[in-house]
């Protein structure tokens, strides 16, 4: 590990596929989200710089720390952004240069994508607000529910491709075609989309935040830069999770113009699907959500795993 390697790693983590790049593109995507919502509701919607103005304003405001809150309240935004950054680095580097990964990076990603949700639980639980506490407990139940589905989809993919490395999965798809075209892959993709919606905290699964009943849940006590960090990490997840899904299921990419345009189209399709589901659905109750994920989706996920074992 020489100096050059360390500085290169820092560059990857903080600037190009990492913090800065993902945050900027992710915030632009949240603008796309708000603009599409506005158009569907026949409004004009915010200008393109709106998310950046929001973040700039939040960064400049005072952060109120509730008296008696524990260290977790201040640590949670940092945990959230650290998890989102590391996950983005692994996913986006696998997209740009598949050889950059390491053995088991899919499993590491499973844990890293869970970090923002964990940070919400820590932050909400230590904010000394009843809204934060209720939101944190709901978030905890949700994590337990959607991680089951997410794990099952990853199992199906890993069994199908005999690889626990993103580059291996991409190489398998380059050889045998996109996983989404096989029976097990298609079922797994469907469940993965449900899990993305829940991981991003979008309707119909924004149960832990629930603006109208829990006034933001775990985020209720956050103000200023703490809130800004949570917003940025959510924007980063909004870019990185759909890219992860496209990489896992929708075939390999070459460094040709046509293939890159195809990748962007697939990514756009996933994003539009997520946004349209978000706009057109009302919030589920917690028990309905748990029943959905532990019941129907878990059964479909097990079927996908069995199909993958059979080789379909």
């Amino acid at each position: 590990m020489n100096l050059q390697q360390i500085s290169l790693d820092l560059f990857y983590t903080l600037i190009f596929p990492g913090l800065l790049f993902t945050a900027v593109v992710g915030l632009l995507l949240t603008w796309v989200d708000r603009k599409v919502t506005a158009v569907v509701q026949s409004r004009i919607g915010p200008p393109w710089y709106q998310p950046f103005a929001d973040i700039g304003k939040l960064m400049g405001k005072k952060m109120v720390v509730p008296s008696g809150s524990s260290v977790g309240f201040l640590a949670a935004p940092l945990i959230s952004i650290a998890g989102a950054t590391l996950a983005s680095v692994i996913v986006l580097r696998a997209l740009i240069n598949p050889q950059a990964g390491f053995v088991g990076d899919v499993i590491v990603l499973l844990y890293l994508t869970m970090l923002p949700a964990l940070a919400l639980i820590i932050g909400g639980g230590s904010s000394r607000s009843p809204f934060g506490a209720i939101g944190a407990s709901r978030e905890m139940s949700m994590v337990l529910a959607y991680e089951v589905g997410f794990l099952l989809t990853i199992f199906a993919v890993v069994i199908k491709t005999h690889s626990i490395q993103l580059s291996g999965i991409i190489a398998y798809q380059a050889e045998h075609g996109a996983l989404a075209l096989t029976v097990s892959g298609f079922l797994a993709l469907c469940i993965a989309l449900f899990c993305l919606q829940a991981k991003l905290g979008f309707l119909p699964f924004d149960i832990s935040e629930a603006d109208t009943e829990l006034i933001g849940g775990p985020l209720a006590e956050y103000s200023g830069s703490g809130l800004a960090l949570f917003k940025i990490s959510r924007a980063m997840m909004f870019l990185q999770l759909p890219v992860f899904a496209v990489l896992l299921f929708m075939g390999a990419n070459q460094l040709t113009l046509l293939s890159m345009a195809g990748f962007l189209l697939k990514l756009l399709a996933v994003l539009v699907l997520i946004i349209v589901i978000k706009i057109t659905h009302a919030r589920l109750r917690l028990d309905q959500m748990l029943r959905l994920f532990w019941g129907r989706l878990a059964i479909v996920g097990l079927i996908a795993v069995v199909f993958a074992l059979v080789g379909w």
């Binding site: 708000r34 506005a38 509701q41 026949s42 409004r43 004009i44 919607g45 915010p46 200008p47 710089y49 709106q50 950046f52 103005a53 929001d54 973040i55 700039g56 304003k57 960064m59 400049g60 405001k61 005072k62 952060m63 109120v64 809204f131 603006d211 109208t212 006034i215 933001g216 985020l219 209720a220 006590e221 956050y222 103000s223 200023g224 809130l227």
Partner: protein, 151 residues
Amino acid sequence: MNSRLFNWCFKKSIWVYHANAGACNGCDIEILDVLTPYYDVERFGIRIVHTPRHADALLVTGPVTRQVRERLLRLYEAVPDPKLVIAVGSCATGGGIWYDSYATCGGVKNVLPVDIHIPGCPPKPEAIVYGVAQALGLVPKQVQAQAYIEE
């Protein structure tokens, strides 16, 4: 933080917390009108938030009854700096028909430092949008503040 950059961001992104301090609901209905697709304040970056911690502006309606005074003060303290206070409606600007009632404080200005008054009973949605835009300096002021001096 660079203060010019911050001022630009602040003007483009006002998150509003709506506090009813004893209003008759007339102004509250007009505030809801402002949020409908017809007026669409999100194009100015204005959003309603549900917790004072996320808010930049307090939109107060009503003459501030004595019951609600302490709560309003606590609410004001809960909003992180910098913050605006906008008084909406006749009651909030000067107490309305309760200006000398024992049960009210006779307007928001007697309790909190108000940045802009939007009169009207209730003010039209256009007037509310215009008032907020004026508070942010998006449109020039048309009238000057004047004090009456007895001859």
